[in-house]
Symmetry: C2
Subunit: 169 residues, 2 copies
């Protein structure tokens, strides 16, 4: 089964992200706006308890923290993704490292850049135009991170929550 781990920001920020996603993100209906903490990965359902125990441990040892969305950015030309960028933040990098360890360790081929996707799979010329406009938007949104969620993907591509993990370190 395919699993993923994500942080959902508070409603206000999700509503802002959705105002862009509605137009620019074909995954708009598959999952609410989120920061991916661990990219989708295959995991054997029969070993799910090992995964949740690992995440339980991580959440128990991690204190809630705040992080700032500080600009609109893009991964273009690597991928045609537009996103709200999370300002450099040790806490979220550490949380990512700890989640991606033990039972859930996977080699990664790229750097972890925490973000909320607001556009993707856009034609190259469109992304240029849109980014040109959105990079001027003044973004300053604080996210309080006090939980993360383990999700699994359905056959139609949408995601269901399996479990919440509250940060209580």
């Amino acid at each position: 089964m395919k699993y993923g781990i994500a942080i959902f920001p508070e409603k206000k920020i999700q509503d802002i992200a959705n105002s862009y996603r509605k137009r620019y993100d074909p995954h708009y209906a598959l999952i609410p706006p989120h920061i991916t903490l661990k990219e989708p990965f295959e995991f054997d359902e029969s070993r799910l308890q090992d995964a949740t125990q690992h995440l339980e441990l991580v959440s128990r040892e991690t204190a809630p923290f705040e992080t700032l969305l500080h600009k609109v950015s893009t991964f273009h030309p690597t991928t045609n993704v537009l996103y709200l960028a999370v300002q450099e933040n040790e806490s979220i990098l550490t949380l990512h490292e700890q989640v991606n360890s033990g039972e859930l360790f996977h080699e990664r081929s790229y750097q972890f850049i925490p973000h909320i996707t607001i556009g993707q799979k856009l034609p190259a010329d469109e992304i240029h135009d849109i980014y040109g406009r959105l990079r001027m938007v003044n973004v300053k949104l604080t996210i309080r991170v006090d939980r993360f969620h383990l999700l699994y993907q359905l056959e139609n591509g949408s995601w269901t929550i399996y479990q919440t993990f509250l940060l209580r370190g």
Copy 2:
């Protein structure tokens, strides 16, 4: 803010429900297939901790249980809803009662009938046709209920998970 409480059945059952919802349910993209444990309700965000403490208590005192989806049914003519019906089951009625108590008590104007919606807002003649076909389908799906989730609604009508509560009574 608008909150709701729901049970998500296992992936296999969600995929089956979605195969119908895709065609018959305009809420298909707003939330994964679910059993509503408490209908959407307004609740002051500032009192959210009271709500989660209440649900934490309920989940701690409730043992996991199994329940059976045993047929396709409809609320027509009351509302044009098609659903997978949960066979009479004391555990889920009790869980509903306990969730809907204390901090989260609301008067209800109708009986709680646990179900998974697979179609809604259908024209009356269509629902007749579709129900005529689907009532012949042999449904026998066991759901293991070992958790429920508190959700909140975004401005676009979609739902985000706030927290999972594991049944561990």
